[in-house]
């Protein structure tokens, strides 16, 4: 579909909107439906959408597969290290009360950080699986 002008223009127009919506879902998950998992899937879908129209080679130049592996591990490491930090501060594993002066602020920070970790890992894994399937037919 590389030569279809209409699709290319629409992707360029929609890609930022989808990506922005993913971040909205991620950081607004406290107040509205959504959270790290949904945001990660939407961000992954944005890149898959891009890859469907512009091809896998172009997308791999934007986000190389090696980077995805690092990102997928980073997200889960963020999650686990949040738990370890709270343990070092004297609480239980993932006891966010310890992260700030007041428990409520601590909870807020903790939830935000782990949602971010979930989002990073999920989007990287989704894109990684898509790469694995899509690059299969090339060789």
């Amino acid at each position: 579909m590389k030569h279809n002008l209409i699709l290319r223009v629409i992707v360029k127009f929609l890609f930022p909107v989808i990506a922005l919506f993913a971040f909205y879902v991620l950081f607004h998950g406290d107040y509205a439906p959504g959270g790290g998992f949904q945001a990660g899937v939407i961000l992954g879908v944005a890149f898959i959408f891009y890859a469907l129209i512009f091809g896998l080679v172009t997308t791999e130049q934007v986000i190389p597969p090696q980077l995805l592996r690092i990102l997928a591990s980073t997200g889960i490491l963020i999650y686990i290290s949040t738990g370890i930090v709270t343990m070092l501060l004297g609480g239980n594993f993932l006891d966010y009360d310890m992260l700030a002066e007041s428990p409520v602020t601590g909870q807020h920070i903790g939830i935000m950080v782990i949602e971010l970790g979930v989002g990073i890992t999920v989007s990287a894994i989704m894109l990684m699986i898509f790469y694995a399937f899509a690059s299969r037919g090339r060789s």
Binding site: G36, I42, G44, V45, M126
Partner: protein, 183 residues
Amino acid sequence: MIDTLIDITLLVFLTITAIAIIKIHNLFVIIMLFGIFSLHSAGLFVVMDAPDVAFTEAAVGAGISTVLMLATLALTKDHHEKKPKHRARLPLLVILITGAALVYGTYDIPSFGDPDSPAHQHVKPRYIERSVEETGVPNVVTAVLASYRGYDTLGELTVIFTAGLGVMLLIGGRLRSRKKNET
């Protein structure tokens, strides 16, 4: 009243889609119908006041899995399902008995939204009463998932990570083999 109407409409569409999936032998059409099936389920979840679940169903069921199945279909040569050689009498019997048992099982399930059901009696009242005060997060679903049940969510994230690793190990070996060819 309007909820019941929407429920009936969505369930009818769901059934029609399911029957169409069985009847049609073109795999491309079946994948599209799978996406529509997921979208209808997402609609049902919204009617049941579970927007978080609906969100996930729409994004994963109708979005990602459709794309992944299309990517798999692109790798196959024939886009048509093979017609079975014999009639499946025994599987039909097994399915009918299992279905009857499941329907019989639903008679024991408390009715939808029943406040006296065990699921609504255990820790749920405490989450609803104290979650805003304890976590400062108005969305109780997020509070439960990320804070009260943070350890479970870590497990879920590990499951997704492991699934990705499994796919990489099974069919993602292209990166290494290309490097080996270059040297």
